[in-house]
Symmetry: C2
Subunit: 137 residues, 2 copies
Amino acid sequence: MKESERQLKEFGIRPTAMRILVHQFMSGQTSAVSLSAVEDNFEKSDRTTLYRTLKTFEEKCMVHQIDDGTGIPKYALCNHDRDEGKHADLHLHFHCTECNQTICLTEHRIPTIHLPDGFVPEDINMLVKGICDNCNH
Amino acid sequence: MKESERQLKEFGIRPTAMRILVHQFMSGQTSAVSLSAVEDNFEKSDRTTLYRTLKTFEEKCMVHQIDDGTGIPKYALCNHDRDEGKHADLHLHFHCTECNQTICLTEHRIPTIHLPDGFVPEDINMLVKGICDNCNH
DNA sequence: CATTAAATGCACTGCCATTGCACGTACATA
DNA sequence: TATGTACGTGCAATGGCAGTGCATTTAATG
């Protein structure tokens, strides 16, 4: 896909074959993916490469890392439609304890929080665990 | 302290010497502690014992586990003053990226969230990262 | 084509949660 | 007091997964 290549360039990432494939893969996902998941999808490639690929994507703010409480970091493409600046991941994340999938609820902004005096917030992470729509039927 | 012993019994935990000590230790903490932190404080005892001690405390709902994004689980005594039922940890957690401490902001309840249709919430985790009061001076 | 930087693959380290097993200790019951 | 049983503790080992160092390959540039 030329589209993936274009996107990569847009974020200042050199569009290598591997990176294009990984981007395509992530574009096709409805939920966040773990490194292992990517690994399983590209058995030909090395774990380290994929690891660093995701890191690069993250540094360039093309994907954001999600901590869904499983201890295994997940990654998802950022949604830059709405201009969220550097904090492109300031939305709600939902982790389904049934199917073990983690999805971004980009519609649901994290409500503003008032902290005690002297506390300066820099990043906010909000995670809801439960049963997702799919598993509820 | 007889107090720690009393508390343990109250939660249905047999008050062994080790458990009493761990409880006392946690009572004296202002921030959440990791297993390693407890370990460092009780060099005489075994890591496994402390690990299982914390697990037991958690199962009996005397402490709650906190995921502060560091990948290392932290534990803190639950605040049962306000009756939160099983969800005694439904408050905000703050992780200071400077001193690396994680504290419970029990005053700050997590705001109610409206999820899309079909999504059933069971647990909510909200974490703010930033600079704490202490490190700000 | 030559030079240089970046990307990739391999081997390895290391942290830390978690588990299996054996031994010790408290508690209940006769 | 003896004895059995469940629970607590300690040791050793496993295993998952993040992260790193280094050598090799690939791509970009003049």
